[in-house]
């Protein structure tokens, strides 16, 4: 949909540079941009530089700030809890991304039809996306609670279990229900990304393959999937980067438990900076996470660039 609009803009953009005659004066444009640059300088670039600067200091909230050299980073390398948090975040990212793709791709195929009803179902599947993670997390806390939760009641009602399950009391069930919640909340988003890919495939192509005798599975594997490559990669990038930054659901639903096993990377930064008030150490953690994230997105973006133009 918007992909095509985007393409049609491009030629104009190229031509635009050529005829600058009759253009308003350039400095006026700079004046229009200036307020936004102030925001980005003051509340983005300066804090970004400060993150690096602070990571070389012992920086308590109150009291004396001391230069620490690489001490924070040395401590970080030895910090078992931080590595556990990074490892857990990576595990969560892999599992939740796989789960979201496994749900969103069939959903996209299901609702990619020129029917009014399909549009209606698209809207319903997308609805949880606009609810915040805070509200969604507390909502699922209630759904999951063993005393008055809907799930316990339903499972008991159909006679599947006798006593209410307590998924938050051990690691894998806790991770499982968090993933279920995140799939519920975000599958609709990935579905829309995948739909833009599906809708850019010309109907003639699948029709021609059908006439040539290709079955539904062959058409999906040989035509649909390869031509969706870009939107699948994009969905992967967006899911991986947002999952690496997961915080709300672990802070609210599992509260890091059981026994600190579900503390994510951002959660451990939160604990260092705003619970122990070791701002320098928190900054070192933040910088480490930032490097990991920028590395991941540049790897993924390189994959996206390497493509046939209409792939």
């Amino acid at each position: 949909m918007t992909i095509t609009a985007e393409r049609s803009i491009r030629p104009e953009r190229v031509a635009r540079g050529a005829d600058t005659q009759g253009e308003p004066q350039g400095w006026l444009g700079l004046a229009f941009i200036l307020p936004s640059l102030l925001f980005i300088l003051l509340l983005f670039l300066i804090p970004l530089a400060m993150t690096v600067w602070m990571s070389f200091h012992h920086w308590p909230l109150l009291g004396r700030i001391r230069f620490a050299g690489l001490a924070n980073y040395a401590e970080l390398i030895e910090d078992v809890q931080f590595w556990r948090a990074l490892g857990f975040t990576a595990l969560y990212t892999v599992l939740v991304t796989a789960a979201i793709m496994a749900v969103a791709l069939p959903l996209a195929l299901l609702v990619d039809r020129p029917l009014r009803a399909a549009g209606f179902f698209r809207t319903i599947y997308f609805m949880p996306v606009v609810i915040g993670f805070g509200a969604a997390s507390t909502l699922w806390m209630w759904l999951l609670n063993p005393d008055s939760g809907v799930f316990a009641q339903l499972l008991r009602g159909i006679g599947l279990i006798d006593s209410a399950p307590r998924p938050l009391e051990s690691f894998w069930p806790a991770l499982g229900v968090i993933i279920l919640m995140v799939v519920w909340k975000t599958a609709g988003f990935t579905m829309v990304i995948l739909l833009t890919g599906l809708q850019s495939i010309p109907d003639d192509l699948t029709e021609a393959a059908r006439i040539d005798g290709a079955g539904p599975w062959a058409r999906f594997r040989r035509i649909t999937l390869p031509l969706m490559r870009n939107s699948i990669l994009l969905a992967l990038v967006l899911n991986v980067t947002s999952s690496m930054l997961a915080f709300d659901q672990f802070f609210i639903i599992t509260q890091g438990g059981p026994s600190n096993s579900t503390i994510s990377a951002v959660f451990s930064i939160y604990l260092a900076s705003f619970s122990s008030y070791r701002l320098g150490y928190g900054a070192a953690m933040s910088f480490a996470l930032l490097v990991v994230l920028v590395a991941i997105s540049s790897i993924q973006l390189t994959f996206m660039r390497r493509r046939p133009e209409d792939g």
């Binding site: 803009i9 009759g22 993670f133 209630w142 910088f287 996470l289």
Partner: protein, 293 residues
């Protein structure tokens, strides 16, 4: 091409009955899946209007024999009361929308319709901020807000939200202004229209859907944001709705008032859903445009 078109009617006639069956099957499957996405929302809203005893005994049923607002009344007794938390959320969200539009629309215009040295570099710089998550610069932001005496202030929170809304918003607005045909501008200029008139009478009407998209994303993101609000607001009168929800969900002496929580979840999510359903077009536009960047 012609073959495909010729074969279609034949297929249709043969499978006329099959089409109906397939449609029914689609509605059935899609409907079942819809239950998974819809029911948690419906259950939460339904239970917020049930008396506590009934919600505890039967959370699954959707219609209550006794419609009750007692949960909302009890939620008013939590901390400063839900109405003042809702007011804080409204102030933060509308403040973010207003300031984001005020800053991003001129910036998009400047990047789209002017040429000056260093422009490309500045645009790349603005877009690069999207690569870096705000979670990784929270610690220094905390100090900067403290120095500016904007810590524990709703205005300080708005400034943070606006900053992180800007890259996407500027990108949207530049594309919106790019779509204004230059012939139209030339014609207006020849007719003697001033720069200001061109912006107001020609550019803005065409760019208006872009503004709607920017405003909607600013609203939803600031309304729903949790981590920054958790860190930067310490005074309980200043909390926003998501922070209130977490306070209710952590309970008092280990006892969670599920009814009050349902009421809180309902007042937090219903505005987002209503906004989405009424302005869906603009939302999906922004989603795909931002995604294709």
């Amino acid at each position: 091409m012609t073959l495909a078109n010729a074969s279609k009617p034949i297929l249709r006639r043969d499978e006329a009955g099959g089409e109906t069956v397939r449609y029914a099957l689609f509605v059935l499957v899609a409907g079942l899946v819809a239950l998974f996405f819809l029911m948690p929302i419906v259950w939460s809203i339904a239970n917020s209007f049930k008396p506590a005893a009934e919600a505890l005994a039967d959370p699954v049923s959707l219609v209550s024999s006794a419609f009750s607002l007692e949960n909302y009344r009890r939620l008013e007794g939590v901390g400063a009361g839900w109405t003042s938390y809702a007011a804080n959320s409204v102030v933060v969200a509308l403040g973010t929308v207003a300031l984001t539009v005020l800053v991003a629309v001129p910036a998009g215009y400047g990047f789209s319709k002017f040429r000056f040295p260093g422009q490309t570099l500045l645009f790349v710089l603005v877009m690069a901020t999207m690569m870096i998550p705000f979670q990784s610069i929270l610690t220094p932001l905390f100090l900067i807000l403290k120095w500016l005496r904007l810590q524990n202030s709703l205005f300080g929170l708005v400034l943070i939200y606006v900053t992180f809304q800007l890259p996407f918003s500027i990108f949207m607005m530049r594309n919106a202004f790019d779509a204004v045909p230059r012939a139209l501008i030339e014609a207006a200029r020849i007719d003697g229209a001033s720069q200001w008139t061109i912006l107001r009478r020609i550019m803005l009407p065409i760019a208006l859907p872009g503004v709607a998209t920017v405003a909607m994303f600013a609203f939803l993101n600031s309304w729903n944001e949790f981590l920054a609000a958790l860190i930067f607001l310490s005074d309980q009168n200043k909390f926003t709705l998501p922070i209130m929800l977490v306070n209710v969900s952590s309970g008092i002496y280990g006892i969670i008032d599920w009814g009050a929580l349902q009421a809180g979840i309902t007042v937090t999510m219903v505005p987002c859903i209503v906004l989405f359903l009424s302005l869906q077009r603009y939302y999906v536009r922004g989603l795909t445009a931002g995604a294709v960047k």
